[in-house]
């Protein structure tokens, strides 16, 4: 009995370590297009990793229901293989290496900038091709990689788009802004972009405070901000920090007259669920909304995509994680079709030359792999739902200002 217990422990540990598999893939011969995706299905990014997986699943379903990917007169069934990287960047890199050993050369990105950065290096070395669905940190694209393409607007746009929206729409326009930023690469880059934009538009940035990534206690930063009386607090943060900023501001009596704006937290359903009425009025930035312009032959327009997603996931509305994942998968499918081959070098060249419209907006890549033509949208939580308020020509509702009034 005791030895059985010890053995089961060792099994668990061994399962976590993983080992290199043997090459068994036979893509092309059997009429399947095998694509690999290392995703954070457990660990700290499990929530977002699962949302990303849903987007890939929608893509696989739609592509296969429309007959599959045509390559050289053959129709290939899209088959996405998933591995769990436990939210650890090192593991994500190893898994992509394992995909390569098995002959899987086309890769869909993991969730988040840290894991994407580590897999991008592996993809480059192995000569694989990756379409990145969620790694927005600009630093990934400054290393001269030729084989990683991101469908999303870069990190510098996340806070900058909200600053621009406040400048365009807020009346009375606030004067002073303060930033609370998580300390991971993506959030810091987003903060830098926001601070630069704010200075360029004539706002005064009274303070920028950094907090540990993933913390649920931002009280120290808020206590420091309080005396500087910013008109708006901008959070460059993920969900845990984003919720903490709003919650703890209330506890600590930090009441910026213009309210709060936070990058990626507000568009996620959990933000409203955890904060309740306190979420109302908070601004957020998003890569995709149902108002995003453009359409393509696989998924149609943004509302068509929303309908497809809803039908698959029992009436749940899509949000941007799923949409950007589907868009990444779409880029890979378009690349393979255009190349007429599953050879990674040919697919890479085809993707580099893409210039397409889609339900996700324009898909066109700069030489370093960023989708610079892609704009972001700004949402505001109104009556417990995120609605698009900026850019104005594709908005669902007027921005409520100040956000604290609602």
């Amino acid at each position: 009995m005791r030895s059985a217990a010890v053995a089961s422990v060792l099994m668990l540990v061994a399962a976590g370590c993983g080992s290199k598999g043997e090459a068994t893939n036979s893509a092309g011969k059997t009429g399947t297009l095998t694509v690999g995706a290392s995703l954070s299905l457990t660990g700290s990014l499990a929530r977002e990793g699962t949302l990303t997986k849903e987007g890939y699943e929608v893509c696989q379903d739609v592509v296969n229901s429309k007959g599959g990917v045509s390559v050289g007169g053959k129709k290939l069934t899209l088959q996405i293989q998933y591995q769990d990287d436990t939210s650890a960047p090192d593991t994500a890199g190893q898994l992509v290496d394992q995909f390569n050993d098995k002959g899987v050369r086309l890769i869909l990105g993991p969730y988040g900038s840290a894991t994407t950065a580590s897999t991008a290096a592996v993809v480059e070395r192995n000569g694989q091709v990756m379409v990145d669905s969620s790694g927005a940190d600009d630093s990934i694209f400054t290393k001269g990689y030729k084989r990683t393409f991101a469908v999303l607007a870069p990190a510098t746009e996340y806070a900058a788009s909200m600053v621009q929206a406040i400048y365009d729409l807020a009346n009375p326009r606030p004067r002073t802004l303060a930033f609370v930023s998580a300390d991971d690469g993506f959030s810091k880059t987003a903060t830098q972009g926001g601070v630069d934009k704010a200075k360029q538009l004539g706002f005064t940035v009274v303070d920028t405070e950094y907090v540990p990534n993933g913390t649920s206690d931002v009280s120290a930063a808020l206590t420091k901000l309080k005396g500087k009386n910013p008109d708006v607090i901008l959070g460059s943060a993920h969900l845990a920090e984003g919720v903490a900023i709003v919650k703890q501001s209330k506890e600590l009596g930090v009441t910026p007259p213009g309210g709060f704006a936070e990058t990626v937290a507000p568009p996620t359903p959990d933000f409203v669920q955890t904060l309740g009425p306190a979420a109302n009025g908070v601004l957020g930035s998003t890569q995709w909304t149902v108002k995003t312009k453009g359409s393509d032959s696989w998924f149609g327009s943004a509302p068509d995509y929303a309908a497809t997603f809803k039908a698959k996931f029992s009436g749940r509305d899509p949000e941007y994680h799923g949409a950007e994942a589907t868009a990444a998968c779409l880029v890979l499918v378009l690349g393979v079709q255009k190349a007429g081959s599953t050879d990674p070098d040919k697919v890479r060249d085809a993707i580099a030359g893409l210039d397409e419209q889609s339900f996700f907006g324009p898909l066109k890549f700069s030489p370093n792999g960023e989708n610079l033509t892609k704009a972001m949208a700004v949402i505001q939580i109104q009556n417990g739902k995120p609605v698009t308020v900026w850019p104005k020509d594709s908005s669902e509702a007027a921005m409520t200002w100040p956000g604290t009034a609602s």
Binding site: T42, G49, V211, A220, E251
Partner: protein, 301 residues
Amino acid sequence: MARDGVMSQFLQATLYGLLQGGVFALVAVGFSLVWGVMNVVNLAHGAFVVAGAYVAFELHSWIGIDPFLAVPVVAAVLFAIGYLVQRYLVNLVINAPVFITLLLTFGLQLVIVNGMIMLFTANYRSIPTAYATTSLALPGDVRLPVGRLMAALLAVGLTLALGYLMRHTRVGLAILATGMDRGAARLMGIKAAHVYALTFGLAVAMAGVAGAAVGAIGTFSPADAGRFTVFSFVAAVLGGLGTMSGALYGGLLLGLAEAWGGQLLPGTLVNAVAFAVLVVVLAVRPQGLAGRSFYAARVEV
């Protein structure tokens, strides 16, 4: 005016740090107890904290019980889980080298955390209450958050109660006796396997209660388990293993260190501050703030 601002900022940080420290103490007290009595470093401790938060969350969403009123139920459920885990799992390897119990509890934490992800998804949750984010305004523009005050009072009360239980009841004395010298305790008619399971059950119940408090004042998800284990480790070692007051001092010191460190240093160094305090305390007082030497001189039979 500027000086008032600095003063109020300092007082606010201190108050918040003390309240936070009270919660750390409640998180850590069970961890310290298990380590002190059984020499088991329970790496699954944080997972039990999160499990307690989920029990409170489910009670709230099913029948609308306030998380603080749900504390007895949470404690009972988690006690039962803890008792069974120790009796039928950890006891199997209790005599093995510490490395084996480390591996076992590490594995246990993986199983519990991923079990919770399957059951409850990895979504961030919070138990909504009307009062949790309200605060009382004190003189000098200092705020006293109501939810955190309740959590800290509960934490300190329970930690003191556990300390009383250990020193003044037969059960508590049996636990201490078994921790000091298992062989002698057995000769006195104490069933070590049962006492160990009771100890673990108590520890897990405290962890669960801490989870309910955390659920009411903050957010939680299965991924937070590791963070709670680290807090427990630091607070328990700071205070001294196995003593209930030690976990309390350790938790409060950790809370204060984080709050003051956050004011004086860039915010991202907060975690480094906690460990720096640990290093300093261990260098100056290796047994911890309230530690006694008899745990080190234990007899293992």
